[in-house]
């Protein structure tokens, strides 16, 4: 157990599924202490998952998240808002056109009314979407690249490289992000979207790096990596070919998380007046709304939509992340599903497909037994 407790990472799934399950399928004693998020065997052959799920999927299909309600809603939200941000600007007025009558409530001409300066709110929302999302995306990419470097290189290489990179990571982790961003932004006279994205990315990679570091460290000792090392493959190639593909789900989750944080960060910055100067984002809309007392005079059509879109997009990202969590740690999906399937089976037996005289009222070990009070009817 390493000194740095942050290396004992956030999701350390236990020994594989219920002993009974794995015994039936592959018969070996459940010895795989999966040290980290990535399963011992490359995801393409999830034998130990088979016990609690449908037939194994091979290759790429195995890496895709299982289809579920959460995934669906997540996709709808994120893709929907993305589409909105891309297409809506084409259908709306110029957001900086100020000759409209000001402070109008929603009407057929101005779908969301107008601001205090006479700009069309819907137009601002549409263009602002592009602004916010671009900052988010760019910052997300920067953050992931940085966390990849600091995390994987440090975790895989070990030695003093690890010590140095780890130290930098840990320091960046502890120093509070937003205050730092505020201070930096305050010094910059003019701030473009790119600069803001840069600042957000530069301050948001540390968390991901920590996770990647512990993953890389554990992957390093896996058999297939050891084999590659013994065969004489160069470190760089090993990282690219053996380790990165297995980290793909994790990286995706981190990317989505980084985008979410960047969008929230940009919104906060813009709200404080430190956002991209001259651009329109959802954050700047909120800032202007507040400055013009929209919150106090009840013109909800001005301040609710931008915040709501941020929240919905963020929720979509979070749901996608959750689905990815379920690939990374199949037990998150299979355990609840297993409990459910037993409950259903028992219900069926009671309902009219009896398998034997003693079948019906045997509670086995599940949530209802934990309840202790009631036998599940």
């Amino acid at each position: 157990m390493p000194d740095d407790i942050r290396d004992a990472e956030t999701v350390t799934p236990a020994v594989d599924a219920a002993p009974s399950a794995s015994v039936v399928v592959d018969g070996l004693p459940p010895q795989n202490h999966t040290q980290g998020i990535v399963p011992d065997v490359p995801i393409t052959t999830p034998d130990h998952v088979v016990a609690a799920g449908p037939a194994p999927k091979r290759g790429l299909r195995a890496m895709l998240p299982p289809f579920s309600g959460k995934l669906l809603i997540g996709l709808i939200l994120t893709l929907g808002i993305l589409l909105f941000a891309v297409l809506a600007p084409l259908l709306s007025q110029d957001p900086r056109y100020l000759k409209n009558a000001s402070r109008l409530p929603p009407s057929s001409e101005h779908l969301l009314g107008t601001t205090a300066s006479g700009a069309d709110i819907f137009a601002q929302l549409a263009h602002g979407g592009l602004g916010s999302l671009m900052v988010g995306l760019l910052a997300g990419i920067i953050a992931v690249v940085l966390s990849l470097f600091f995390g994987v290189v440090s975790g895989y290489t070990g030695g003093w490289t690890n010590d140095l990179l780890s130290f930098v990571t840990n320091v960046m982790l502890v120093i509070p992000g937003l205050p730092l961003i505020i201070v930096i932004s305050a010094y910059l006279e003019s701030r473009s979207l790119v600069v803001i994205a840069l600042v957000l990315g530069l301050t948001g990679w540390a968390g991901g790096a920590v996770v990647l570091r512990s993953q890389a460290k554990s992957l390093r000792s896996r058999d297939y990596v050891s084999a590659a090392r013994v065969a004489g493959e160069k470190s760089g190639r090993i990282i690219l070919v053996e380790i990165l593909p297995n980290l793909l789900p994790l990286l995706t989750a981190q990317f989505l998380g980084a985008v979410l944080l960047a969008i929230l960060g940009e919104a906060g910055l813009s709200y404080l007046g430190l956002g991209p100067s001259g651009s329109i984002t959802w954050g700047t809309m909120l800032s202007e709304a507040r400055a013009q007392n929209a919150f106090l005079d009840g013109s909800w059509w001005w301040y609710v939509p931008p915040g709501l879109l941020i929240a919905l997009f963020g929720c979509g990202l979070a749901l996608l992340n959750f689905s990815i969590d379920e690939i990374i740690n199949p037990r998150l999906r299979t355990a609840p599903a297993a409990v459910k399937s037993v409950r259903v089976a028992r219900k069926n037996r009671r309902a009219g497909k009896p398998a034997g005289p003693t079948a019906s009222t045997r509670p086995s070990l599940d949530a209802s037994t934990r309840d202790d009070e009631k036998v599940n009817a």
Binding site: S20, A21, V24, P30, V342, A345, R349, S364
Partner: protein
């Protein structure tokens, strides 16, 4: 239920005067996955007081699933779909294990039947001491015990299995593999159970430690007179230590007889195959250590 149980089928090779302690009849266990997997098919067996019953078979034959089923420990998606499991208590009455639930099931567990799991590496709670975990057992099942009594009993248990009693204050990670397994056995004995189910208790340990643990178990059984269901794929070991052996194949018991009978006159083809596939240290390939002579009908077929 207190009728004298009739001898179920497949109960050959029982020692004279043996009294049944656990009877399982027509037990079936399924995995509720898609498609449904029948892990245990209509299994019946009888365990007698003080007897060591070996449960042998290859990986995936369902022996562990059966063991979990006997103790009502099945985890979803496993579900027992039929069968009767009865414990014939020392004090005379019978307990329908399959019908137990809630509070009664909890009281029953560990008190009458205890279990030592496969690979005790992770069977101990990593954040509390061994003492705390032993005390947990007493607090739950013997609420009347005073702290002094609990401590005394805990020390006694550790000594029983050959572990230094000062280890009570250790945490799981401070113990070696062999020690952990011994502690698990000590815990299993804490309430003087009548049946102990041991699922591959020595597989993860090296051979010398293995031997020590097996000897320990045999000695304890002599001393405390509990019955053991010993699950393993190591048939030679079973031949040495068990009174009777049940051979399982794909969810069914294909042969159930005394060790001698199994060794000398195996009835089922699979049993023969199993016997023939273990190499010996001396003698010909496929032959046994005991006699050093070849056995088996299958010509030279070593699995």
């Amino acid at each position: 239920m207190s009728a004298v149980p009739t001898k179920p089928a497949g109960d050959a090779g029982v020692a004279p005067g043996a009294v049944p302690v656990l009877t399982a009849r027509n037990v079936s266990i399924e995995y509720q996955v898609d498609p449904v997997v029948k892990a245990v098919k209509d299994v019946s067996l009888t365990l007698h007081r003080g007897e060591i019953l070996g449960l042998a078979g290859e990986s995936g034959c369902g022996k562990t699933t059966l063991a979990y089923g006997l103790n009502q420990l099945l985890k979803p998606p496993a579900l027992r779909t039929s069968g009767e499991i009865v414990l014939h208590d020392k004090d005379g009455h019978d307990i329908d294990v399959a019908a137990l639930s809630g509070e009664r099931l909890r009281a029953f567990r560990w008190d009458k039947i205890s279990m030592v799991f496969q690979g005790a590496m992770n069977s101990l709670n990593p954040v509390i001491t061994v003492k705390a975990q032993l005390f947990d057992v007493f607090d739950t099942h013997r609420p009347g015990m005073s702290k002094k009594e609990k401590l005394a009993r805990s020390r006694e248990l550790l000594e029983l299995v050959g572990v230094d009693p000062n280890r009570l204050n250790s945490f799981a990670h401070e113990l070696s593999g062999g020690m952990r397994q011994r502690v698990m056995i000590a815990m299993a004995l804490a309430l003087n159970p009548q049946v102990m189910i041991m699922d591959e208790p020595t597989t993860a340990l090296d051979v010398v430690v293995q031997r020590g643990i097996i000897r320990e178990i045999m000695r304890l059984r002599e001393q405390l007179d509990f019955a053991v269901v010993f699950i393993t794929h190591d048939l030679p070991m079973l031949l040495e230590i068990s009174d009777r052996i049940a051979v399982m194949l794909r969810g069914e018991i294909v042969e159930l007889n005394s060790s001698e009978n199994i060794y000398e006159a195996p009835q089922h083809e699979y049993t023969r195959k199993l016997l023939a596939s273990f190499p010996s240290l001396t003698g010909e390939r496929g032959s046994f250590v005991r006699t050093g002579s070849g056995t088996g009908d299958d010509t030279g077929e070593v699995a």
